[in-house]
């Protein structure tokens, strides 16, 4: 019999869902006890507890998503988040802040920096680190970006004239968190996607004649409207379907992730303006997604039945 009381390890393993514990729990416990015995410990180390909690939470939250899909979403989120941050910084980072509570002669019309520039600046740093392959440093920068996003959001609630609109901070924070799903290793894909996305956003800014120094909500009321973001998400989904049909799997996965990211932008846009419409949009996405997965699985079964894998018995 084992001489170590395994209760503290069993408690730490509760971070994992029961389905995971059923599959791996006893084997994992055995390995944890083997290691503890070799290191002369009779309880989990602090690092071990943190690692188990983090890994357990990751399995609970993301266990349903395969690793390649997670990496594609992280890559698409990095590129899109960076593009949105840069467009925000250029068009809304500096501008005259008009205080409607003051008379015209009392206004300070000097360009002022938006606190949202902190989150945008951290986004730029994080993206450069991603492109340089500094994965760990990029994750730290992204965590700082998310924290800054929340901080600026709170500050903007206290002083609405100083901070950017909530939709800006919410979007930048959500994307920073999405990038943390997985390390971004497809650096070229991230760079190309960021360049294309920035180009599209700039093109529409110029088309809608949005000048630099505009209020932070100008992009959301004139460019990233519910109609436009919905159309963009739909168009990219069609593109991902086409790439999947020509069997360019890696590209299709990334394009689908970009489409998913723009679907998130669409849902954020809907929800921040009207929660009920946002929930309706979410219901539509879930319904369409369920039908899509059903068709995909049926197609996969059909393909498997008619084209047996090479080497299969």
């Amino acid at each position: 019999m084992t001489t170590v009381d395994d209760t503290p390890w069993r408690r730490a393993l509760r971070a994992y869902p029961s389905s995971w514990r059923d599959r791996h729990g006893e084997a994992m416990l055995g390995t944890l006890l083997d290691e503890a015995e070799a290191q002369g410990r009779d309880e989990p180390s602090r690092g071990e507890r943190i690692a188990l909690m983090r890994s357990g939470l990751a399995v609970r939250i993301l266990g349903w998503m395969p690793q390649p899909a997670r990496e594609a979403v992280a890559t698409a989120s990095a590129a899109t988040g960076f593009a949105l941050a840069m467009v925000f910084a250029v068009f809304s980072g500096f501008g005259e802040r008009v205080d409607w509570r003051l008379p015209p002669e009392g206004q300070n019309l000097d360009p002022q920096a938006s606190p949202g520039l902190i989150a945008a600046g951290l986004w730029a740093i994080a993206f450069v680190l991603i492109l340089c392959g500094a994965t760990r440093a990029a994750r730290i920068a992204l965590t700082a970006t998310a924290v800054a996003g929340v901080g600026v959001f709170v500050y903007a609630q206290i002083d609405p004239l100083a901070g950017p609109r909530a939709i800006v901070t919410v979007t930048l924070t959500v994307f920073a968190l999405l990038v943390l799903l997985a390390p971004v290793r497809a650096r070229l894909a991230a760079g190309v996607t960021a360049a294309v996305t920035t180009g599209i956003l700039l093109f529409f800014h110029l088309s809608f004649e949005v000048p630099p120094g505009s209020p932070s909500d100008a992009i959301w009321t004139r460019v990233l409207t519910a109609e436009f973001t919905g159309f963009l998400a739909g168009a990219v989904w069609v593109l991902s379907l086409l790439t999947a049909i020509v069997r360019a799997r890696t590209v299709a996965r990334l394009v689908a992730a970009v489409a998913g990211v723009w679907t998130i932008v669409w849902l954020i846009r809907l929800t921040m303006w009207d929660v009920a419409t946002g929930m309706l949009g979410l219901a539509v996405v879930v319904a369409v997604g369920a039908v899509g997965v059903g068709i995909f699985r049926a197609g996969a079964r059909w393909g498997h039945g008619t084209h047996p894998r090479e080497g299969a018995a």
């Binding site: 055995g30 071990e48 690692a51 290793r185 890696t250």
Partner: protein, 112 residues
Amino acid sequence: MTQEMREPTFLMLTALADGPKHGYALIEEVDRVSRGHVRLKVATLYAALDRLEKEGTIRIAREERVQGRVRRYVELTPDGVGLLAEEVARREVTVAEARRRLALRPAFGGAL
């Protein structure tokens, strides 16, 4: 496989190349193979084993109970052996190219 294999995965597959191993033996073997550079956490190990099992790269060979503890032995599948061989060949090409280019450097290389 079109994606580049990550170092911990390569080390794990290398550690399993000569036969099945249980969890702690695998951690020790990876530590040895990497000359002390990579020490896998148990949580990381099982997350990787779960992924590799789903991908069909490894499979459970057997389970034993030793001193009341479960020891699960895992081994490479034929697909896993092929994957490791491909990765080794890919790395050998890269290493050979690095050696060739280093040999081309002038004798005073790096002095400028």
